[in-house]
Symmetry: C2
Subunit: 254 residues, 2 copies
């Protein structure tokens, strides 16, 4: 069942082609990357704060998350990742990992040696630029999370996370028009929103009672996207989908 090395690199290529205009040499170099693919169980650490990783990893299939621990033992989730996301491009260029990356569900991960990544980036600058764009979009999402956690109340905060998740899953083809499977517990939701588990639970109940969502098992049904969006104050600009979705002039000016 694990996808072949070729499939995985094709997936990467497809993603990067949305971010910059690659030529044949770029494509060939990318497809030649040495890659090891491996299945990983849920809750496994891929990178730990303080590590000096010698390989980069790409999330082929499944869900993963970034988090940091505070000195007093609290955990803050920084972002979630899904099929096709690069998990630590930053660690190809930064020397020491400043946060943890952990699988959320069972995942397939592709590992690429750090040295190969750096050679690719330096020899094929367009590929590097496409990857750079990827990390810039991640950064944009972090910025929105600062806003989410800093300025919105619990209700809007959870709603916003549900919106972000929905939109990203949709783009990845992992959601249907009515909703999606939320692959995380309320405790993880709490760690992502900076709220207590109990409060998350109450907010979810209120989201249900106000008909903004309907939950059935893991599945979150969204009967009226516009109402949820409005409750969340969600605007998808920060996801930079014009540089993610094919056909939206991903690389206008060059």
């Amino acid at each position: 069942m694990p996808e072949s090395r070729k499939d995985v690199l094709s997936q990467m290529l497809r993603k990067l082609e949305l971010r910059a205009t690659l030529d044949d040499a770029d494509r060939k170099a990318l497809l030649a990357l040495p890659t090891r693919i491996q299945k990983v169980e849920p809750s496994v650490y891929l990178i730990r704060e303080g590590d000096r990783p010698d390989q980069s990893c790409v999330l082929v299939k499944g869900f993963a998350l970034r988090h940091k621990m505070t000195e007093d033992g609290g955990r803050q989730i920084i972002s979630f990742h899904l099929d096709g996301d690069f998990l630590d491009l930053e660690d190809s260029l930064l020397n020491i990992a400043d946060h943890n990356v952990q699988t959320l569900t069972r995942c397939e991960i592709a590992f690429i040696p750090r040295s190969a990544m750096r050679e690719l980036i330096l020899s094929y600058p367009t590929v590097g630029m496409a990857m750079w764009v990827d990390t810039l979009i991640d950064a944009s999402i972090y910025r929105e999370w600062v806003v989410n956690v800093g300025k919105r109340d619990g209700f809007a905060r959870v709603a916003h996370l549900l919106c972000e998740f929905g939109r990203r899953l949709e783009v990845a083809g992992l959601a249907n028009a009515h909703g999606y499977d939320l692959p995380m517990t309320q405790e993880q939701l709490a760690d992502a929103t900076g709220m207590s588990l109990v409060h998350v639970n109450r907010v979810l109940k209120r989201l249900g009672s106000e008909q903004l969502i309907k939950r059935k098992r893991k599945f979150v049904h969204i009967p009226d996207w516009e109402r949820l969006r409005s409750a969340a104050g969600f605007s998808e600009l920060y996801l930079h989908l014009d540089q993610v979705v094919r056909g939206h002039r991903a690389d206008r000016s060059l």
Copy 2:
């Protein structure tokens, strides 16, 4: 008093040389960038959310900040910037600005056409990589801000911001061993920490009464760095100073 174009590009060069090993061609290309330098008053917008900027800007001197507004009129400050920081490298590669950048104090800003930046990045990949590292460090700071706002209480939150500011000013040569001038109002501190103005004021008072800081005008005196650090739960790993401070093997493995 405005620095010359050559001075400004030298400042950029010095900074980027800490992030990657540049050769003569790289240096020459960088110094040849078309650059317009301009003084800008406090509180002026350099970039607005929704803009499609056609130039990149670098903060030569002064303080600036990034922020986003929520639908209900709240403002969240995302980061602060000081002498030598790139203010919108992201906008050289992303099509639409997802947040605002505004001067905090009177500033000197260097403007560089977006097209020139992109040509430089593609023709001199090592320069591009150095700039990429810069944006990765920004992203790391955003991650820490998510943690700060999401997981720390008001007291630690303000203390942490003071630590970050102190350390960054020190590296930039803008602080002395005892403290520094904090170039912002309590309202801006509130917008950066996701707290109310009143609460920031009370926290500052408590930081004073517990001898963690002493304020005199804008100056913040820190009598015992370790005590403040500990109250904040501050760890400077996320600033990636090993890739900022000269002589710390900024580019180990290549």
